[in-house]
């Protein structure tokens, strides 16, 4: 048998808490790739954040040896993130495999997210092994789940392995099945190099590192390589495999999964989905499917303490080394000072970035309301893209505003169909279709503006369905709509960081709700502060923060001085977290609080 015949490249597809990382842990343990001493749960999830949230953000591949009979097989397991924001990353890691283990929770059945990734796997012609996990649970119904797999996906699930990743049940039979069912890689080692980048990361010593699947040809240290997307050339300094720590090897050949380092300074030169070839013997065509990750959601990120702008910049640059999907440029706001306009793949991506910045770089941040990218056709016929409401052209110059719309697929138990449809209608949704997948599951399709999805749609969806409904969406285009820019004035001055784009029918409600929240969030000051919501010059809602009446320490004698000074110091600390809009001071938290879903 040649090396390719002894290799299996596969990934695991699962809904968020169906046990993917736990199964990965068990497989790694079973093959002995990591010693007991080094082992920790969710070993492939390298970030603390991933371990805490139990989700996978960055993909860490691992190469393992598995001995059966007298043959030693090489398993390359590629872990995949499980959220709609990262669909493209998932699709590229799937493209690096020949097979996939589809984990379905024996008590929960198939979830919306699972389906998205299954379809992605089928599109990539992967062989799928449906696997039923958590069979140790009392609520496990493996037969029902098997039926569901056959009904919904159309896969034969009759001999699906029954496992419990948590208890380590059924792992070896699953490994055998991988060998028996998943095809080994093919690909000619003598042809020109075609290596698929399915992930990249930054290493302080080696530069940007590409995680690659060699599709054709081979690559070794010293080869001059070239990126298909931008033509940039580099000298390969190291190739290796993940064990899961990096281990240098002689060469990577067709069928292998590993990494390639070439002193690449910028992680942006290692785009996921790109093809690497060699300069001396280049392939004629790249691998198919390369797509530049494009951010969907934009928001301003500012340091809560304005003096930490430089720290924020350094942190963004460092994060960017490892996250090519992150796009940012400096922006300044009258209210928030200096910060960045940042593009994200979606809301989860945004949440993760903000949390990583705060946690890993000890920053305290203010985030503005996320915005989509609008296309504004001006009266002079010129089209501009606007990702920040502040930069909207003057209403008199606007001919038409187009906004991105998505097809939203919502999966829910039937009892929540009513409230969910109501939600979709409320969010300017246009009904497309509804299918009863089986007696316990309905798929509802709506066309909805993306801006409505990124506001509070997901939170309300979860709350109206008691957490059961799940959501996928895909951008299907741009549509014109009656949108207006809603401004908020504090003591007569526009606070740019609060401006929003809303549908004109929602402007009144939204204006009033934000004004109310601002009223609660802005502390009383020495003068009365009117809060106004306005469209152009028309005020549509008004609230007032009453003037503070006193702020003083009644007693201050010889023994009180230190205490009084401490109180003032504390008050001063609070003031540092305030932003000045004209004469009005706004706590940084106020910008966040107006974004939060308040259950209404």
């Amino acid at each position: 048998m040649n090396k390719q015949e002894l290799t299996r490249n596969f990934c695991i597809i699962a809904h968020i808490d169906h046990g993917k990382s736990t199964l990965a842990d068990r497989i790694i343990e079973a093959t002995g790739a990591v010693s007991k001493r080094e082992f920790k749960n969710q070993i492939l999830d390298s970030m603390d954040l991933e371990r805490e949230r139990g989700i996978t953000i960055k993909l860490t591949p691992v190469t393992m040896k598995y001995k059966r009979d007298d043959k030693v097989y090489t398993f390359n397991l590629i872990d995949t993130p499980g959220h709609v924001d990262f669909t493209y990353e998932v699709s590229r890691s799937l493209a690096a495999c020949e097979g996939a283990i589809l984990i379905v929770d024996a008590s929960q059945g198939i979830e919306a997210q699972t389906l998205t990734n299954v379809y992605l796997a089928l599109e990539n012609d992967l062989t799928i092994i449906p696997t039923i996990n958590k069979i140790d649970l009392a609520s496990a119904q493996p037969d029902l789940v098997k039926q569901e797999i056959e009904d919904i996906i159309g896969l034969d699930a009759s001999d699906a392995p029954l496992i419990s990743a948590k208890e380590g049940i059924g792992i070896i039979p699953l490994l055998d099945k991988i060998i028996d069912v998943i095809p080994h890689p093919t690909g000619d080692c003598t042809k020109p190099l075609k290596a698929l980048i399915f992930d990249s990361m930054y290493d302080n010593f080696k530069g940007a590192i590409c995680n690659v699947r060699i599709v054709e040809g081979s690559v070794k240290k010293g080869d001059l390589i070239k990126m298909f997307s931008n033509g940039k050339e580099f000298e390969c300094t190291e190739v290796g495999i993940f064990t899961p720590s990096m281990l240098a090897v002689e060469s990577l050949n067709a069928g292998d999964v590993g990494y390639l380092a070439a002193s690449i300074k910028n992680v942006k030169d290692t785009s996921v989905g790109d093809t690497i070839t060699t300069v001396t013997n280049p392939a004629k065509e790249p691998l198919v499917g390369y797509k530049k990750a494009s951010p969907m959601v934009f928001a301003g990120i500012y340091p809560a303490d304005g003096s930490r702008y430089n720290d924020l910049r350094e942190a963004m640059e460092k994060l960017n080394l490892n996250d090519a999907a992150l796009i940012f440029e400096p922006e300044s706001s009258g209210a928030l000072g200096f910060g960045f306009r940042v593009g994200f793949l979606g809301l989860l991506h945004m949440e993760i970035i903000v949390e990583r910045l705060e946690r890993e770089f000890d920053l305290d941040l203010v985030t503005t309301a996320p915005s989509v990218v609008y296309k504004v056709i001006k009266t002079d016929g010129i089209e501009v893209s606007v990702d920040n409401p502040t930069h909207f052209p003057n209403p008199t110059e606007i001919e038409k505003i187009l906004e991105p719309v998505v097809e939203a697929n919502i999966y829910t138990p039937p009892e929540y169909v009513g409230p969910i449809m109501e939600l979709c209608q409320d969010k300017r949704g246009e009904y497309l279709n509804m299918t009863y997948i089986d007696t316990s599951r309905v798929k509802i399709d709506y066309k909805i503006p993306l801006s409505e999805i990124i506001y509070d749609f997901f939170d309300i969806l979860k709350s109206r369905s008691k957490g059961y409904a799940s959501l996928d969406y895909e951008i299907i285009g741009y549509e014109p709509n009656a949108l207006v820019k809603l401004d908020f004035l504090l003591n007569g001055e526009v606070c740019d960081a609060l401006s929003l784009i809303v549908h004109k029918d929602f402007a009144y409600t939204r204006g009033r709700s934000v004004a109310e929240k601002l009223k609660d969030a802005i502390p009383r000051q020495m003068f009365e502060i009117p809060i106004q919501a306005s469209i152009g010059s028309k005020v549509i809602a008004r609230e007032t923060v009453k003037a503070l009446r006193k702020d003083v320490l009644a007693k201050c004698y010889g023994g009180d001085i230190s205490r009084k000074k401490k109180l003032l110091e504390k008050q001063k600390e609070g003031k540092k977290r305030m932003r000045q809009v004209g004469s009005v001071q706004i706590p940084s938290e106020a910008f966040m609080s107006i974004l939060k879903y308040d259950g209404r």
């Binding site: 020495m526 006193k550 004698y557 010889g558 023994g559 001085i561 003032l568």
Partner: protein, 355 residues
């Protein structure tokens, strides 16, 4: 010089000053500690004159005349006393006769009346009632011209009528009044009573009461000279003015503080107290000077500021003053917070100071 007398007959519900129940034996220990501390300070201040003496508490008139005499004698024997003002705080209903105090040299009495509404007094745990308070005023006024009393704003059951009544009743006896807006300490008994439903004035109501009170006091020609203090002309408390003008002082007894030059001494919050000290930086001293002197109606003395800190205040703080200048008055040698904005002192200091 301040002497903290840490004994009380009973602790009031709003109080977070250091005090212990009166006991004859504990008083002897306390006096021993004072004697030791007097020797320490004697070395530190050498022969510097002591201009004011203030015995506060606690309840200084909870101890016996004999013990009081001992304490005074010890101070007298060890310091260069040149007293322009000698104040004793007393609470109605406790001891120390006016004759005794007069004979020993006391020339100012501050009486902790707080309220003349018995229901209010009872609710905050005061031991005296309105009659006790008026009797006390009458009794001491026969011996002392310079009487002061405390009025507390915002306590339970208090109405504006109560305040008017209070001022009308006490005005004929007093030359000075301290008006304190109620502050409810975190761990006080009052705090837990409020948590279980007792009503006290809100911050806004306190501000109203404060403005109301200062107007009522004007009727009797009382003039505000500090955030919480009002007096007839020339009856300001010399001792307390000394704190707000950032002069040196020494404090004896548990929790008392001292400032000598750039050193702050603080006694611990403990009957068997120890002394801690801290060296104040130039910047800290400057902040303290500003925050204390702006409490005064006369404000901050620009010349003294220049003398101590070697800078022109108005130049040094011009950027910070600019956005808040409407709250200040400046004349040739003083900058002061306009009287109607004194109750915003903290907000203004936060704009002005860097810590």
């Amino acid at each position: 010089m301040y002497v903290h007398v840490p004994f009380c007959l009973k602790k009031c519900f709003y109080c977070d000053f250091y005090s212990v129940p009166y006991s004859k034996t504990k008083t002897q220990t306390y006096i021993k500690y004072l004697e030791r501390e007097i020797q320490e300070f004697k070395k530190l201040i050498a022969n510097r004159k002591v201009n004011t003496l203030y015995l506060g508490g606690g309840t200084p008139n909870s101890i016996t005349e004999e013990d009081f005499q001992k304490i005074y004698q010890n101070i007298y024997d060890n310091f260069n006393l040149d007293l322009q003002e000698f104040t004793v705080e007393i609470n109605p209903g406790a001891g120390l006769s006016p004759e005794f105090l007069k004979n020993i040299g006391v020339n100012r009495i501050s009486i902790g009346i707080q309220s003349l509404n018995n229901k209010s007094l009872n609710s905050i745990g005061r031991v005296h009632n309105a009659d006790d308070a008026i009797n006390c005023l009458k009794k001491y006024s026969k011996y002392f011209d310079n009487l002061s009393c405390d009025l507390m704003l915002g306590i339970p059951y208090q109405t504006k009528g109560d305040i008017t009544y209070f001022i009308d009743r006490v005005a004929e006896y007093i030359k000075h009044i301290s008006v304190y807006m109620l502050e409810v300490p975190q761990n006080s008994k009052l705090k837990s009573m409020i948590n279980s439903g007792l009503k006290v004035a809100s911050e806004d109501e306190l501000a109203d009461l404060y403005i109301f009170t200062s107007n009522e006091l004007k009727k009797y020609k009382f003039k505000q000279y500090e955030i919480s203090n009002f007096s007839l002309p020339s009856y300001q408390s010399k001792h307390n003015l000394m704190y707000w003008s950032y002069m040196d002082y020494i404090g004896l007894g548990p929790t008392a503080c001292s400032k000598i030059g750039n050193i702050r001494y603080a006694n611990t919050n403990d009957f068997y107290y120890k002394k801690e000290f801290q060296e104040l930086s130039k910047n800290e001293m400057e902040n303290e000077f500003i925050m204390l002197s702006l409490r005064l109606s006369t404000g901050l003395n620009l010349e003294i500021f220049k003398e101590i800190f070697g800078a022109n205040f108005l130049d040094k703080y011009s950027n910070k003053l600019k956005p808040i200048e409407q709250y200040f008055d400046v004349d040739n040698s003083f900058i002061k917070i306009k009287s109607e904005y004194l109750i915003f002192e903290n907000s203004l200091l936060v704009e002005l100071l860097d810590f």
